[in-house]
Symmetry: C2
Subunit: 225 residues, 2 copies
Amino acid sequence: MSNHGEPRKRPETDLRLSRASVGRLSLYLRRLEELHAEGVGKVSSGLVGEALGVTDTQVRKDLASLGRLGHPGIGYDVSDLIAAIRSTLGIDREWSAALVGVGNLGRALLRYQGLAARNFRIVALFDTDPAKVGQVAEGLVVHPTSQLGEVLPPVGANLGILTVPASAAQNVADELIAAGVKGLLNFAPSVVRAPAGVSVVNVDLTMQLEQLAFLVHMAASERLD
Amino acid sequence: MSNHGEPRKRPETDLRLSRASVGRLSLYLRRLEELHAEGVGKVSSGLVGEALGVTDTQVRKDLASLGRLGHPGIGYDVSDLIAAIRSTLGIDREWSAALVGVGNLGRALLRYQGLAARNFRIVALFDTDPAKVGQVAEGLVVHPTSQLGEVLPPVGANLGILTVPASAAQNVADELIAAGVKGLLNFAPSVVRAPAGVSVVNVDLTMQLEQLAFLVHMAASERLD
DNA sequence: GGATGTGAACGACTTCACAGCG
DNA sequence: CGCTGTGAAGTCGTTCACATCC
């Protein structure tokens, strides 16, 4: 689903957090924010994991990587946990992104409130279609992708969002990287690769549809017991 | 990212394919279709995995679960592999889906060509917004979500796609399940749970953004060596 | 020689069991 | 007593090494 580009040589032993646990930390964070909004001040590991289908032990193991935040017999302080997870994930600051490919999906992302709620801002738009260039969407002018190298650096986005056809994805990714972007969110149905120092998350809707088809397919054949 | 709903009791020992390998099979399939289009007839495990960042050994292990399709010294027949993967994933037939939530993302999915290309058809639309009910999008009328129970069963969709707010996701999921749907693709930022026999894939864009933020955040601090 | 298939070693992640603290 | 933190055990997935076959 996501990778770091090149296969890494070093086993990365210093990295405390496993890939899987980072995903769960996101889930915990959301759950904790819900609980916080409900006025809950202290939580147990069981309460956090319950609605998420995660065991209490697993929650404690994950939270242990943030430091010693729990109080035996009491639980965890919700606000402390929220702050610690935000800081660990690196979302206690603002991220700015360039979006390339102002099609249906690109526009949907532009209008998606969830991005702003998490301090992700889209600060530049690009498209190759001459009919789209010059248009304004959500207060941003669409620039031609060919001018990415000149337009983007002064804006200084640290992320790139790819909502382009698969055939264009790697080329656009390379241009974004050349323009200084440090992370890529790729929605094209292709595996985008990047050099060390640039992170990539491939979303790949097609793959997830096929995962679902497989699960349903399997469940159906299991029913024939 | 995706789960089967309730935590399962039985370790499901009969299931040959691991979750991770199913995802890779999707990637192989896409790569093989590219190669097929280029007129390639035989491939080696190395060639399939190369552009995907997967080792040859891993490819062979994954393909082994499809049966004995390889020929030592020669490789695999591209067409055979494509057919075998399609059949294993359960995408050698048509899947029909109801889409609930005709907002920006819902509309983007409706127009997404990749669905049709993979034999996934959206056959019914629902929304709670009275302003949207009755509208026609891509040839389909938007029905009120409240009438899901009456409208959907005669149409007979086997999947449900949720592009609704997180607060509504579980309720809508329950209604879809009651209407006979066997699989759910959930785009809402929440974990949707389903009883045994119904499969769920949670896409969760927020989580993937946070994954990316974390990776970039980590890469930045590693640079201080 | 060139490539597959696969047991065995290895490593990563999860669950268990329980010590320890409030 | 309730709940955390964590070594140990167990499970799952990946990589290695090599026997095997065209």
